[in-house]
Structures are given as structure tokens and as C-alpha cells.
């Protein structure tokens, strides 16, 4: 289990992976990937009990689903860096015949991926099903989901939120990446999801927690609190404040880098702000 100093080194390397992957194919989604790097590093290197010798059925281990599949670069980096496949395979991202599809997919049998995602709003439903499967199997491990904030505009999420409360899916921890940005601009401008998401989720019967997605103390403490809150009849929703593009100075604070790859000069600039800690792939 990595400590905070190690997690900082891991997430710096994962961010380098993301930038180099999207730069190499001139496509992909760096903004949200960078913003969620600390959370995914913490999840795969500290929080989850998981087995890199991959088993689709995930018996006796925690499970993670990425609902906002477009941040696949950071997901692939987390999987490779935690031992699901060789880091050298990151260089195949988005290329023909790769297992690292533009959005996560099971068809190419990449270890660590249990469900395709990309078309938004489906992850919470899937995770609720997987969580119920764990209950049927008497498996006490947990199911985690990461979703985007713009994604909450999809109606299926609200069906799933209602369902998880009704069926007391209390082994489910959903984290929402609150970066306030989506393709066409700020979430409040595009389709006001409301400053009152917390009230909405509470009204739907969820336990709501908050954390700073760029502070490992906050991430680890909040996730520990979330784990302790499982098994009490309520699903758990964590509002994770992040900044799209963090911590690359020219990528932060705008939706511009949602789905645009850096050019050569921008890549060099961004990499100069992120120490190479574990060796580039």
C-alpha cells in the first residue's frame, strides 16, 4: 500500500503517461484525465483491494467502473502502473489493433476493464448491478465508480440513484469528478446541474461526502470514511472537487483541454511541470 509521498510520485508519472499518450496520437481527453490522476492513483495503489491477475467475475476483491469513459488515458495508466499489463503497451493507445481503445472496452480483453464505457450515464447502473451480485455471492468487498459532473445530466443516472437507494445497495461508493467543465463550457452554463447536487443526492437517499481531489490526505481520509459508511443501508456519493488539467498551468481552469491533445511545444512545457518518477513508458 503506497504512502502519500509514493502516491505523489505515482500520480506525477501517471500524468506524464496521459500527456504522452494523447500527444502521440493527437487525440484523446487530457483535461479530465489529469484532474482525476490523484484519485485513481489513490484508488489503485492504496484504497482498493484488487488483483492485477485479472478475473472478470471479481470474486473476493473490490471492483471499479469508470463511467466517464473518455478519461481512458488515466485509467489505462493506473492499470498498467499497478500491474495489469506492461506499461510499454500504453504506447498503443488509440492505434489500430490496440487493446487500449479510445474509450474502455472489453472486446479486446484488456485486463482491468469489466465494462465498456464512453456513451455516458451508464456506469452507476452497471455498478449497482455488480454490487447486488456481490451481495448475492456473500462477497463483502466494495464497488467503486467514478463519473463526470457533466455526465449527471444523463437521465439514466437518476434512475440508478433511485434504484440503489430502494434496493439498499450499501456496498457502492460513487465519486463524481466535480471540475465544473464540459465540452461546450462550464456545467452551470451548459445545463445547470445545480450548486445543490448535495441536496439532490440526499433527497435521493444517498449519504454524501466531500473531498479535495488534489489532496491525498483528503482523498485517503474521505475514502476511509466512505468505506466505514458502507453496510449501513445507504449508497455513498462523494463530491470530489478537482480542476480540469491540474496541475499543468496552461491547461487548468478551462474546458479547452477536455478533448484536445497538446502539440510538441505544449507537451514539452507540460512535462517540464511533472517530474518523471517511475520512468516513462
Amino acid at each position: 500500500m503506497a504512502n502519500i509521498e509514493q502516491l505523489q510520485a505515482i500520480s506525477s508519472q501517471m500524468r506524464r503517461d496521459v500527456l504522452r499518450m494523447v500527444h502521440a496520437v493527437k487525440s484523446g481527453h487530457p483535461g479530465g484525465s489529469l484532474g482525476c490522476a490523484d484519485f485513481l492513483a489513490a484508488l489503485y495503489f492504496h484504497i482498493m483491494k484488487h488483483n492485477p491477475s485479472f478475473d472478470m467475475d471479481a470474486k473476493e476483491e473490490d471492483v471499479f467502473f469508470l463511467s466517464n469513459g473518455h478519461i481512458s488515458p488515466i485509467f489505462y495508466s493506473a492499470l498498467a502502473r499497478s500491474g495489469y499489463f506492461e506499461v510499454s503497451e500504453l504506447s498503443t493507445f488509440r492505434k489500430l489493433n490496440s487493446r487500449l481503445q479510445g474509450h474502455p472496452a472489453t472486446a479486446e480483453h484488456l485486463p482491468g476493464i469489466r465494462m465498456a464505457s464512453g456513451s455516458l450515464g451508464q456506469g452507476v447502473s452497471v455498478a449497482a448491478g455488480a454490487a447486488l451480485a456481490k451481495k448475492l455471492n456473500g462477497d463483502k468487498n466494495l464497488v467503486y465508480v467514478l463519473m463526470g459532473d457533466g455526465e449527471i445530466q444523463e437521465g439514466q443516472n437518476w434512475e440508478a440513484f433511485m434504484f440503489a437507494t430502494h434496493h439498499k445497495v450499501d456496498n457502492l461508493i460513487v465519486t463524481i469528478d466535480f471540475n465544473g467543465q464540459q465540452i461546450d463550457g462550464s456545467t452551470q452554463k451548459v445545463m445547470g446541474i445545480g450548486a445543490d447536487i448535495e441536496d439532490k443526492m440526499k433527497a435521493f437517499g444517498w449519504k454524501v461526502l466531500h473531498m479535495d481531489g488534489h489532496n491525498f490526505e483528503s482523498i485517503l481520509a474521505t475514502m476511509e470514511e466512505a468505506k466505514n459508511a458502507t453496510g449501513k443501508g445507504q449508497p455513498i456519493f462523494i463530491m470530489m472537487k478537482t480542476e480540469m488539467g491540474y496541475p499543468v498551468d496552461f491547461m487548468m481552469g478551462s474546458h479547452k483541454w477536455h478533448g484536445v491533445a497538446p502539440n510538441d511545444a505544449e507537451l514539452a512545457n507540460a512535462l517540464s511541470q511533472l517530474p518523471e518518477t517511475l520512468g516513462d513508458y
Binding site: 472496452a105 464505457s117 452497471v126 434504484f163
Partner: protein, 318 residues
């Protein structure tokens, strides 16, 4: 022309209900979900015996498909139940991404397909579902013809690993297939061997094809009648062998002409053995309110329509 004894008159959805109930006893991995239509789908018996293996999702079909996909992770075999319209068109992207593309072992069980749903009208009478489902890679598409075959198909799909669309209906129809007949996915069933025309029928139109066969026999025409209960994968060798003998074909289904069984057979024949074909299907139209019999008559899905098309396609051979 072979005669078939009608054992009773029953709805195919009850065959699903009995099959699911039986599966509940035999296979602990089977779980069921329903979107507020337990009675219509005849799921009560399964739920009574297996309350912990049933999940009511309410009127939220998109979520049902996602939850079903998730339930497969850990080894369960989810059977979803709602009307055919809400099992397909309403949730196409959920099925496409979370079930078909992800290749999850979900059984999408769809009742009230086609015109025979009756009085509720076109909002509920889906005639496009076979096409929607057969276009999805990984998806198996099954449309059994009577109570016994629907029960057998329900049980057989639990033993098949992968996504399946099982389509059945609301009205009581002749139940004539042998009660112990094994259901083999993708294996067409020869009902009557003939030499003059091949009639390929699916679902409720299979019995009408048999009725048509008797009418044609009175006219001295020897029709070969084949029950295509599995539209995908299509039993290409059975279809090609039949038309090699008869030289022409009629397809019959309670579905749009576009995207249905007839469309699959035309594709197969055009590529492998161009053959005259006539199609009994709904011709690019929505349905409407009415009794099932009135609707089948108005939209031309009858034994007489099959006879007419058979005579026409035989004439085209020359």
C-alpha cells in the same frame, strides 16, 4: 401435408413464465429483473420462489439494462422482463454498449411484440425490434412460435453464454410443438417437407404457415414449411438446402419487412443462390388499435396472405 395436433391454446409469454420458474429451481445463477410488468410477463411464480433473486426496477428500463449487465459480473445470469418496445428501442444504447459490445450474459426477454399486442395501439406494438437486435454484433435473436417452444427456448438460453434477445407475445395461440422438444439455438425446424415452395416463418406466423400449407395442399401444391425460431444466427444451411429443392421462398413474420427475418433470408439468398422470394410482413407502417385478429387481417399477416404470396412466387419461378 402433415397435420399438427393443437394441444391447447396458450400465450407464449406464459411459456416464458413457466420456463423462468423452472430455471429458478434448476439454476441458482439465474436472476430476474422487471420494469413494473410482473403480471404481463408472467414472472410471479419465479418471484414467489426466489424473492432474493428478483429485482423490481420500476419504470426505468435504461437502468434495468445497466443493472442486468452489472449483475453478470460475479457469475449471475440476468433475465430482464418488459414489453418488446421497452426492451429494445427505448434502451438501444444501453444494450449496445453495456450488453452487446461488452458481451455480457444478459437475456433480454420481451413480451407483447408486434401487432398482436392489440388494443394499446402503435406506441406499444413494436415491429422493428428484430431488426434493431439482429444488427448488434454478439446478439442472438430468438422468436419462438408457441407456448412449448417459448418455454424450451427460455430454458435453453440460460445454458448459452452471451447476450440473447428472446421475443414473444401476448395473445393465446395454438400450442402444437412437442412438449419435450429440445430447443437448439440457431437450428431451424422442418415442419413439413415439400418440393414446390419453401415457407420460412417465425413466431406467431408459424402456425399460420401451417394453415397455409393445408390450403396450398388442397390446390395441389406441396409446400415445405420451416420454423425459423432463431433469426440470428440464421440456419443458412437449412434455408439454402430447402430453396435448392423448391426454387422459391415465402417469408412470414409479425415484424416490419425492413430488418426482419425476410430481410435476413433475402440477403442470404441474394449472395448464395439468387431465388424468387415473397415476403409476408408489415410494409413500412406503424400499427394501430384493434383486436389481434383484426390487426393481423388488416396488415396482411394471415394464412391466406401466405397462400397468395406462395402462388405468386411459384409463378415467378418460370
Amino acid at each position: 401435408m402433415k397435420t399438427f395436433e393443437i394441444q391447447n391454446i396458450k400465450d407464449t409469454r406464459s411459456g416464458f413464465g413457466e420456463g423462468l420458474h423452472e430455471l429458478g429451481k434448476q439454476n441458482e445463477r439465474v436472476v430476474a429483473l422487471c420494469a413494473d410488468l410482473i403480471g404481463s410477463l408472467k414472472m410471479d411464480a419465479f418471484i414467489k420462489d426466489n424473492p432474493n433473486r428478483f429485482f423490481q426496477v420500476g419504470i426505468a428500463e435504461a437502468n434495468m439494462m445497466g443493472v442486468a449487465a452489472g449483475l453478470t459480473i460475479g457469475g449471475h445470469i440476468p433475465f430482464t422482463g418488459t414489453f418488446a418496445n421497452f426492451s429494445t428501442g427505448r434502451v438501444y444504447d444501453q444494450i449496445r454498449q453495456s450488453i452487446a459490445y461488452s458481451n455480457k450474459n444478459v437475456k433480454i426477454c420481451a413480451s407483447h411484440a408486434g401487432l398482436t399486442l392489440g388494443e394499446d395501439g402503435a406506441t406499444h406494438q413494436i415491429l422493428e425490434d428484430i431488426g434493431l437486435m439482429k444488427m448488434l454484433p454478439n446478439m442472438v435473436v430468438i422468436n419462438p412460435c408457441d407456448f412449448n417452444q417459448t418455454k424450451a427456448a427460455t430454458m435453453a438460453i440460460a445454458d448459452y453464454e452471451g447476450p440473447v434477445y428472446l421475443r414473444f407475445g401476448r395473445p393465446a395461440v395454438p400450442n402444437f410443438t412437442p412438449v419435450d422438444q429440445k430447443f437448439e439455438i440457431g437450428k431451424a425446424l422442418m415442419l413439413n417437407e415439400g418440393t414446390d415452395v419453401s415457407i420460412f416463418a417465425t413466431g406467431h406466423l408459424v402456425w399460420k404457415a401451417i394453415e397455409a400449407g393445408h390450403i396450398l395442399a388442397e390446390k395441389g401444391i406441396n409446400a415445405e414449411i420451416i420454423n425459423i425460431h432463431t433469426i440470428k444466427p440464421l440456419d443458412a444451411s437449412a434455408i439454402l438446402a430447402s430453396v435448392a429443392k423448391t426454387g422459391c421462398a415465402v417469408t412470414a413474420e409479425e415484424h416490419q419487412m425492413n430488418g426482419g427475418l425476410g430481410d435476413s433470408i433475402c440477403q442470404l439468398l441474394a449472395i448464395n443462390n439468387p431465388t424468387p422470394v415473397e415476403m409476408v410482413a408489415v410494409n413500412d407502417s406503424f400499427g394501430e388499435s384493434g383486436t389481434p385478429d383484426q390487426l393481423m387481417e388488416k396488415y396482411g399477416l394471415t394464412a391466406n396472405a401466405i397462400v397468395e404470396k406462395a402462388l405468386k412466387v411459384i409463378a415467378r419461378k418460370k
